[in-house]
Amino acid sequence: MSDITRQSLNSLVKNIKEKKLSSYEITKSFVERSEKSKKLNAYITEDFSNALVKAKKFDDSPNFDLKLPGIPIAVKDLFCTNGIKTTAASKILNNFIPTYESTVTQNIWDEGGILLGKLNCDEFAMGSSNETSYFGNVQNPIDENLVPGGSSGGSAAAVSGQLTPVTIGTDTGGSIRQPASFTGTVGLKPTYGSCSRYGIVAFASSLDQAGPMAQNVEDCALLQEVISTYDPKDSTSIDFKRNQYRKELSKNIKGKKIGIPKEYRVDGMPKEIEELWQKGIQHIKNCGAEIVDISLPHTSYALPTYYIVAPAEASSNLARYDGVKYGFRSEGYNLIDMYEKTRSEGFGSEVQRRIMIGTYVLSSGYYDAYYLKAQKVRRLIKSDFDEAYKLVDAILTPSTPSSAFKIGEKKDDPISMYLNDIFTVPVNLAGLPAISIPAGHDAKGYPLGLQIIGKAFAEQEILDIAYAMEEKIEFKNKINDWWM
């Protein structure tokens, strides 16, 4: 069956449960398509032969009560997988084999998921184009000259290119939503504390959050249902009542109040993004929800705040890579020299740049002026949302200020690269959930996304809104398999 890889996750699950398809048939289809898709460079590590063995094993003694019965899934190479190389797309972890499993991936295997392989991303998830990976850039299945976005670029390319039915990414400043938007897929960044960070290679601990990426909202809801659990191994994991996100999914959003923040209408935003937004507003109205104009006055301070907070936390988290206990080592004439050479040769230039920024803003004499200041502004940004949520249930914005850009286009201009995350970063700073759904195409035929931001722990609400809008939008991804 050549159309297996075109099926949604929910239809694959249904077909397995009704014994119309075996796990082996499904896994084989995705393995074969992945084999033919090397040009995309979506994988860092393939685990295809193990996946086929596990699929056979599942078919021999199937458990149809599981939520992902025998479903093959590739994951971002930022999740530690026990016994399988985990690199964070960095030279410094090029040969690292974890001795433990991340909670989020464990949840997937516990529900019957089967690992297909580890997907490419920006080095340590630092980037918006997947061009900072030590293992080379990923190509966007939409067009070979385009970046897939980042940092979960391999994940987004793998879902839109149908190399995996669904996947998981991580989102620190937009790393799930921006690549989802660039590839015509759906990506959810859950509330901070919803998905365990245990076993995820840390970038910025107060911002990082894992989340599902899928071809449609229903698949996204099912995967979120699986990965979101309370985990005592993550001290910031939050014990709240989680919904059965897929089971409870509803298109009824009548009477909901959706906010449109005027500050997101930024200078120089292409006309087609504004038009997309207006169309989204119309869809919301057609669903019986109400549009309310709101203000998030500190929006323009979010990116500068992020570029203090995230590098500060990164410089601290990445101090552990010293060439002693694991990873790459460069020889030196003494211990300090060894550290300095290891880190200089082991980290790529974007990671070094961010470690340097972080070290500087935390260093003596600058801490108050930068780091403390940023934490105060972060409070103001969060308060903006708190105020807005007194008036509305959710907020609708574009996901990105433009469609996918060309490979190499922004590589040497960090600021213009950072500006890509202008609509996604405030959400991380406030710890809120947000989903990006494909909502249309620009004049070049490239996909564009809309973002729905929710109240903390209101994943169900934004999934419902996305589900209702998805039906009205009727988005079709334009993929012609150019790489095969």
Binding site: T236, Y301, V324, Y333, N334, L335, S363, L380, P414
Partner: protein, 95 residues
């Protein structure tokens, strides 16, 4: 504000990343443009604002301090670039 080469060398030392002169110059350029961008925050008055350190408004929970992993010394040492018997090996630190 301007970050000079001396400051770059100082940060490079603090972050244990060796930087030659050519790289230092590139970094100074990049960091200066990034800090020009960050400077926008100084427009805001924040004297009476409490810093936000975590959005997870929760008190840290306690759990029993139990060893849960099995004996994985060998696998852990296998990840080391240099080991000797049960130890990690680093360049000599004492004469």
């Amino acid at each position: 504000m301007s970050i000079d080469l001396k400051t770059i060398k100082h940060i490079s030392k603090l972050s244990r990343i060796s930087v030659d002169d050519k790289k230092a110059e590139k970094l100074a350029g990049d960091l200066n443009s990034i800090f020009d961008f960050i400077e926008k925050l100084s427009e805001l008055k924040t004297d009476n604002v409490q810093p936000l350190t975590s959005v997870a408004e929760t008190t840290l929970k306690l759990r029993p301090d139990e060893i849960k992993s099995k004996n994985i010394r060998e696998q852990i040492l296998k990840n080391s670039p240099a080991d000797n018997e049960d130890f990690f090996v680093v360049p000599k630190v004492v004469e």
